[in-house]
Amino acid sequence: MLLSKVREALLGIRAGRVTLPYPFAPRPPEPGFRGKLEIDPDLCFGCGGCANVCPARVIELHDLDQHTRRLELYWRRCTYCGRCEEVCPERAIRLGPQFETATDAGADMVIRLDVFMGPCQRCGRCFPTKTPLDRLMTPGFRGNGKEARP
């Protein structure tokens, strides 16, 4: 009995102190970690594939007018499954490595992206412009659209 107690005490002593110093020292997650949603506004062209597959219905898409499609990502309910990332043809939406996502400001938990769609000169339907320069040269350009409004 005493021997087993000695063994149990030694188990702990031999292992040393394993407590990590986080949060006093950073601890980055493994590569490939599915963390906070990140959307690159330059790459997204508003196809809506992500909104279609999201199991938690986190992504909402609607057209503000002829030229602007608004994406809203209520990522407080995001389950980090990564289906949006899988489906996006431009790899515009990604799950980044950020895991420290606690906040007491509700406004932080919504990402709003206005995608400016330029109309085709022949049929008049929208398509996205390719480069930032092109976008600047298209009349009506308002900025990169990624504002978090309260």
Partner: protein, 573 residues
């Protein structure tokens, strides 16, 4: 694997059984006889409601069938009735039996099978709550999973009830709990259970420090999973929900669900996918058993075991994070296989992590085997005799610790378990100490299984090419051995890319029903470790409800009432 000859043999025996009853029940195997076509591993028997009890009794007594769960389905849009299907498993023949009884929607009652199959107690209360079919002759017809202030007559799993219905909350409702036997007093443990820190309310009837009986009110954790499964989610989205049924055995549930869909649709998962599923399942078992070892230690005040077990477990969590992108919710399963493959550089890493896990687990086992104070707290505590375990349908390590030879990986092999064969870890003691030993042995066996699977990992894809839609009107049953026992998923496929019915039975469902038998004659001090030795997963057990949990709060005490309760001599009971 059972052969065609085995199945034919069982069919003949069932047919003989049914004929002996005057031919009023039949084995249905022709298209048109059943609404949902069963798979080759399921024998579908249609019964009249007056004969269901007899047939269930005969299945258990004469054929040695083991009760799994009962599913209540609203089939009124298809056939105008409610379908009550009792599921049994014939372990030796590796078959399932579905006892299908259609209940007329105008006269929604059926004979209860609980008097002859005690394991069906909760399942029958649940279908009464879910679809409103009354099990007549049930010894305990109280509500099981609906809240006590849920309106009478509103049955959530009926097709005409919307999934986001929120009935108004009411006040002043208490669950009807049994009265204590004469000469005993009541010790209430819960509704916030102090040790496991999960909501469950046990009322112990005590005589001094000895327990003479107990009553349970649980299901505070409903989240509407089954209802969501057949209303708003598609086949491809459900694995993510299934993964969140449980906080520790998520991969089990998503695998079990995907397997059910794959069976129903005839999708063949590539061999590499099956091997990888096996590896992830066994990794999950390893970290779940280590977690449990820590919790069990903590329950009896042995925090050193808690710290060491969780220290040993931590590298496994980091490994899973590297493989899947998250420590626990892997998100890897999808219908047809896996979404992510195992990168080649991960193989040596897995072996690197397993080495110290095995070594340290062996060291812990060595240390606790001679620890007489630990054994004094766990030997002969929470005894479960094998006959009781069998009658109540107990599964998993608690069953194996009582000597029952039940393991879903061997009884109904799935994933790669036909090639990577687990060892059946048995003990005969039937007490908490036996359960500790079974889990430690299983943990070490899982390490072996992962190593074997890695060594034999075939090349190829991990995802089958799922071209067409999942066909409608099929039935499939899938079982997976979770760390806690056998999990069962029952699926009826519907049109428009979603299931018609999805029923989940977690292993803690039958295991929790064994608690009254296990605490009989024990002291109050032993109740937490007895419950802990079942390794209960309350979130797994409680998933059938269709209402937002936030509005369904428990009663609100008036401040004066609270003060009065607190100041009464014996406190609230």
């Amino acid at each position: 694997m059972s052969t065609a000859a085995d199945r034919a043999g069982v069919r003949q025996r069932i047919e003989a059984l049914l004929r002996a009853d005057g031919g009023r029940m039949r084995l249905t195997d022709r298209a048109g006889d059943f609404l949902f076509e069963p798979q080759a591993d399921t024998l579908h028997v249609k019964v009249e409601r007056e004969a269901v009890r007899r047939t269930a009794a005969a299945l258990v007594a004469d054929l040695g069938a083991r009760f799994l769960v009962t599913v209540g389905t609203d089939r009124r849009p298809l056939a105008g009735d409610y379908g009550i299907v009792h599921l049994f498993s014939l372990d030796a023949e590796q078959l399932f039996v579905a006892l299908d009884c259609g209940v007329d929607s105008g006269d929604a009652r059926i004979d209860s099978i609980t008097p002859v199959v005690p394991a069906a107690a909760w399942a029958e209360r649940e279908f009464r709550d879910a679809v409103g079919v009354v099990p007549e002759g049930h010894p305990d017809p109280r509500r099981l999973m609906l809240a006590d202030d849920w309106p009478e007559g509103l049955y959530p799993l009926r097709r005409d009830v919307p999934h986001d219905l929120k009935p108004p909350a009411t006040e002043g409702v208490r669950p009807p709990m049994k009265a204590p036997p004469p000469g005993t007093s009541v010790v209430a443990v819960g509704p916030f259970f102090p040790v496991l820190e999960e909501p469950s309310c046990w009322r112990l009837f005590v005589d001094g420090e000895r327990i003479v009986g107990c009553d349970y009110r649980g299901f505070y954790n409903h989240r509407g999973i089954e209802k969501l499964g057949d209303t708003v989610l598609t086949y491809g989205q459900i694995p993510f929900l299934a993964e969140r049924i449980c906080g520790i055995c998520g991969f089990i549930h998503s695998t079990c669900y995907c397997q059910a869909v794959e069976k129903a649709a005839g999708i063949e998962v590539p061999r590499r996918g099956r091997y990888l599923r096996t590896i992830m399942l066994e990794l999950e078992r390893i970290h779940s058993h280590l977690l449990w070892l820590g919790i069990a230690g903590h329950i009896i005040g042995f925090d050193a075991v808690l710290m060491q077990a969780w220290r040993i477990r931590e590298p496994v969590m980091w490994l899973c994070e590297a493989i899947s992108g998250n420590r626990k919710t892997y998100g890897m399963n999808t219908v047809g296989g896996l979404r992510r493959d195992l990168a080649p550089e991960m193989k040596p890493r897995v072996l690197e992590v397993l080495g110290p896990v095995e070594k340290e687990s062996l060291a812990v086992r060595e240390a606790i085997l001679g620890d007489t104070t630990l054994i004094a707290r766990t030997r002969d505590v929470g005894p479960l005799p094998p006959e009781t375990a069998r009658a109540l349908g107990v599964v998993g390590p608690p069953a194996r610790a009582s000597g029952l030879r039940i393991d879903a990986r061997l009884d109904h092999p799935y994933a790669a378990y036909d090639e990577i064969v687990p060892h059946l870890c048995l003990q005969e003691g039937g007490d908490t100490w036996s359960r500790v030993l079974v889990r430690v042995e299983e943990l070490l066996d899982s390490v072996r299984l992962v190593r074997e699977a890695l060594a034999a990992l075939p090349d190829g894809t991990v995802l089958a090419d799922v071209g067409e839609d999942v066909p409608a009107d099929r039935m499939a049953i899938s079982v997976v051995e979770a760390p806690r026992g056998e999990a069962v998923h029952y699926l009826l496929t519907g049109g428009d890319n979603r299931p018609y019915r999805w029923r989940v039975r977690a292993p803690s469902y039958p295991n929790l029903q064994a608690m009254p038998a296990m605490v009989q004659g024990q002291t109050i001090a032993d109740v937490p470790i007895t419950l802990g030795s079942l390794d209960p997963c309350f979130s797994c057990t409680e998933r059938v409800e269709a209402v937002d949990v936030r509005t369904r709060t428990v009663r609100v005490y008036e401040p004066a009432e609270l003060r009065e309760l607190a100041q009464r001599k014996r406190g609230p009971s």
